[in-house]
Symmetry: C2
Subunit: 300 residues, 2 copies
Amino acid sequence: MILTVTLNTALDVTYRVPRLAPNSVNRVESVHQRAGGKGVNVARVLRTVGQDALVTGFAGGPTGAALRADLDAAGVPHDLVAINGDTRRTVTVVSDSGTTVLNEPGPSIADAEWTDFLATYSKLAQDADIVVLSGSLPPGLPRDAYAQLITKAGVPTILDTAGDPLLAALPARPHLIKPNIDELIDATKLTDPFDAAAALRAAGAQTVVASLGPAGLLAVTGDGTWRAAPPQALPGNPTGAGDACVAALAAGLMAGTPWPVLVREAVALSAAAVLSSVAGDVDIRTFGRLLEGMHAHADR
Amino acid sequence: MILTVTLNTALDVTYRVPRLAPNSVNRVESVHQRAGGKGVNVARVLRTVGQDALVTGFAGGPTGAALRADLDAAGVPHDLVAINGDTRRTVTVVSDSGTTVLNEPGPSIADAEWTDFLATYSKLAQDADIVVLSGSLPPGLPRDAYAQLITKAGVPTILDTAGDPLLAALPARPHLIKPNIDELIDATKLTDPFDAAAALRAAGAQTVVASLGPAGLLAVTGDGTWRAAPPQALPGNPTGAGDACVAALAAGLMAGTPWPVLVREAVALSAAAVLSSVAGDVDIRTFGRLLEGMHAHADR
């Protein structure tokens, strides 16, 4: 079982408008909402590709209740720790001219709630083969929250976060981190992805898989370096591509898939997510088609 | 007691952002929410000026529960009819460069829920001196919903709506309607406010009080026509000014205030709402100061 941890869960709300008119009143045509947060999306993709996944994190208030209800409806197993605050929402306004996202900051997590979470997490991690840690930290958590979770996991961990929460986690030696190119540069102040990945490995990450957008993936591991890229640039929704990539990496690590195959699978599953309109969904036929036509190659 | 009816209640959510960047990800700095809908705002203003007011309408789902809880916290009495759907939200994004509003359409009201409402309304109207009917109709209601409520009220009614729900209500002879200048032109296709008010009176409205923005109010009544305007254009938040105007008209009609005084009070209370940052709030000192310096005059 793969345990996905989302400390900053959200109810993702999508508003469809014909055109977003700033500084005006906009009539929303349709409203859709579903459980979100990066680890929730990872778990959805894992289940789509036939993997057993369990969601944990925090949920509270009426928005937290709506999040739990949506996971139940989608058949995604979850064990979320109750908090006093109301779970945050994200509002994504989709129009013909583009997509505008408004991210609420989310409730502050109390010390006792974090202690509760650590107890639940330690129990759940005992049944996990891999732990995936995804996303930003909500207000109130210690900056080394991810380091604590990596240390307590007892199994390999995949960490997908950025900035200070990423840097503070590296001394705990996560098995794999998956920064995108912006996060890689931001964390290291180095513009060359090879140099940046090497710096993050020196700081504690055992493996760095960097997502380079249309240029695909760069995997810098203890056994060598591999690259793979999609056969062509894919138009679509990049939200959720990173989460699909993490899902592929988690499934591949669990199966012991060799790196040259695994980087191709991760690129193909990311691309299949880009072609889907909703984060957490993947087009499984696209995945198969892309995987056929792609080669990974060793690098440097 | 003044009964305010809000068929399309909403939980009004305000997001503060430094700058709204369309087609980008925006980090929301702060989130505030409160019970909204035009009749809810009217009731808040009535209570601020010392009038007894009761809120009715529809509320359902977790958002409806949050709306009820906020009315409780604000000490605004309410008797809302439960619906199966989730009450809608409005999202107002406030930045230094302007205010962008996103209005959800709201849940559809089932026939049985409308029947429930008519029963509750008939009971509540028996204790009311005046009934105020405010805002748009939610999906699912008959187009003559306001006509039905005017007929059943048994006491004078003030109607503040626009478009087809306004036109369909006129044959039931509302005591007073309060269109703004755009709504006046839209309903009559006449650009002269005097002609347009006369046309709406001919169609059934006993009194037309038209809000003309910075040009103040035009009251066309069976006893004559009056105008009053604020002493100067007031910068601020026009949201809620119409609801404050309706509150003043309801309180004045109940007290039997003569029209030359009442139009001044309505202009002053609207202006006091413009100077407040939140719909439903009024600055009572501004109200007093403006009332002092203003004169109404008979017109045409």
